[in-house]
Symmetry: C2
Subunit: 340 residues, 2 copies
């Protein structure tokens, strides 16, 4: 199969050309299916290429041609969160359709790390970036750092820069969930939220607040916790609320991590606590198999990724209006009763 006599040194187009007694240009043209080359010549070249196992060097090609690198950078906080891994799936789906690959970068919610990851990716020549921002200010994504590389933000609208973004209906979804709890008769609804500095944190809190207001329920600070999305923190906060003299009869959680925390807080409570209803943002696998009923604000994270990548490629191929675009993914309220 292989006739590669020097396995250590990668073959170049010149090696192929020399063996065939043609110029490198002929090899180049044959390889790219460019027209203006004899049919027999092309076949000879391709045969030789296959025979010796030559592989073109795409970086060199791109350096010279100046064309797109067919590479998209995806910057997230933590790929272990199902939301981000599904988002990555969506981004990749669209990318392969354009012959592009995805380069990964995790920031661990550290804006400084985000800066560095973005800078590195730009230096590596990504054609565009999909960023789930770590902080609330994004002006660091607007200067020379990007060198003109287009950016799409996911899950947060741009602040301090003007770029496209894909959002989830954080406000509407949370409001709907809260309304549902109210419709079921709950008046003391605990909120396990995210930091106000985060867009999602602020929007989801706004949905909670408005639903309460619309129902004429005064917000009680004892029932509100706004912390980093972390199941341990959420669990602690939930335990605190449940220990109050008048504990909430329902808990509304602002993301999947907080939902997990809330469920854990209810885990070991006496049987009566089953009466406490939990509703949360983000769907959770096996939610229908839990010991407690759970209502979730559901949406498709894969779709978020698909839209983000699409916005990026549209800017590259067609001439879209320079106005920043904003797409919002809608949510659905889904009920997960307990089995039986």
């Amino acid at each position: 199969m292989s006739t590669n006599s020097d396995p250590e040194q990668a073959l170049t187009m010149r090696d192929v050309a020399k063996r065939l007694g043609v110029s490198p240009m002929t090899v180049s043209r044959a390889l790219r299916g460019q027209r203006g080359i004899g049919e027999d010549t092309r076949k000879r070249v391709l045969a030789e290429v296959a025979a010796i196992g030559y592989r073109p060097n795409k970086r060199a090609r791109n350096l010279r041609s100046g064309g797109p690198n067919e590479l998209i950078g995806l910057v997230v906080t933590n790929l272990a969160n199902p939301f981000y891994s599904q988002l990555a799936v969506g981004v990749e789906q669209v990318c392969v359709g354009y012959g592009a690959r995805v380069m990964l970068g995790s920031t661990g919610e550290d804006p400084q790390a985000e800066r560095e990851v973005v800078a590195d990716m730009v230096e590596r020549g990504v054609d565009g970036l999909v960023v789930v921002p770590a902080g609330h200010d994004h002006s660091h994504l607007g200067g020379d750092l990007l060198n003109g590389t287009p950016v799409v933000l996911a899950a947060s609208p741009p602040m301090g820069i003007e770029v496209d973004c894909v959002l989830v209906d954080d406000f509407g979804g949370t409001r709907q969930a809260c309304r549902e709890l109210i419709a079921r008769g709950h008046r003391r609804i605990g909120f396990l939220g995210l930091p106000p500095s985060l867009w999602t944190g602020s929007e989801r809190f706004r949905g909670y607040a408005l639903a309460l207001e619309e129902a004429g329920i005064a917000m009680d600070e004892r029932y509100v916790s706004r912390h980093r999305g972390d199941s341990a923190l959420a669990e602690k906060a939930a335990r605190g609320m449940l220990a109050l003299d008048e504990p909430p009869t329902a808990l509304l959680t602002a993301n999947n991590r907080n939902t997990v925390g809330a469920l854990r807080a209810l885990r070991d409570r006496p049987d009566g606590s089953k009466a406490i209803t939990v509703a949360g943002f983000d769907d959770i696998e096996l939610a229908d198999m839990l010991d407690l009923p759970l209502t979730v604000v559901s949406y498709d994270p894969v779709e978020v990724g698909r839209v983000a990548a699409s916005l990026l490629f549209e800017r590259q191929t067609s001439t879209v209006s320079p106005q920043p675009r904003r797409v919002t993914i809608s949510t659905t309220l889904v009920d997960h009763p307990t089995p039986r």
Copy 2:
């Protein structure tokens, strides 16, 4: 902040050099912190670089220097599976320690797609590949396709090639889980397995088979299903077994997808079915919150990724013995009782 007068055209080292009245080499040296350059000159250069927002082109740098690209390819079947996304986290953790980035590729369990992804990544100049193989034969990863790029397989030992690999103790873990079921008095244990063609499928089945044999229990084909890892298929198979005259009293599942299927099959059954015990390979988030008790073969997928990437970098930096290495990640049996 920015003095970039031509935002469309990326700046080059020559632009910086020209503005300073020095040669590009001086800029190059200053940028790489190379010694043999005046301290004041370096400062002037770095100041100018910062002022006009010049960013080096890493592809061009690498093309000329011939050094490593600091880029690792990660090829998985489906990033939406928590196992693979956690593996990706581990790979990336190690990569950043070496200043490298991760390039992503999904195969959808299609060996042909795997070939193409790998070829593409090699052409893009990855320094190494971590592959979770889609098929059972890996000889396509051994020829000219790779151009000498080192590969580490994850979750499957190499077949038809000689490369390093990281495995999970599929056999031992499954055997231990099955033994536990037997110790709890079960004799009719259903097995929801993976295709025998997959390494994990075959090894986990072997663990099941040996545990039965050791206990003097004859294997009953009616209690064995070996299908693609897919929760819907697993659910169907489980329903079939539970409808038998003598249904199994316990189910052993070969991966997280099958566990989900098994749980779903038990979801709507009359109360008596709670007596059916489920044990499965792979831990599951919220397993402790389920309506049914669950015992899992647990291990750290992040660690699998970390080890895989480490094996790759060790081959690059130090001169490791050319013998293919094999690392096995051990498993632990973890009990998840139902709440309360």
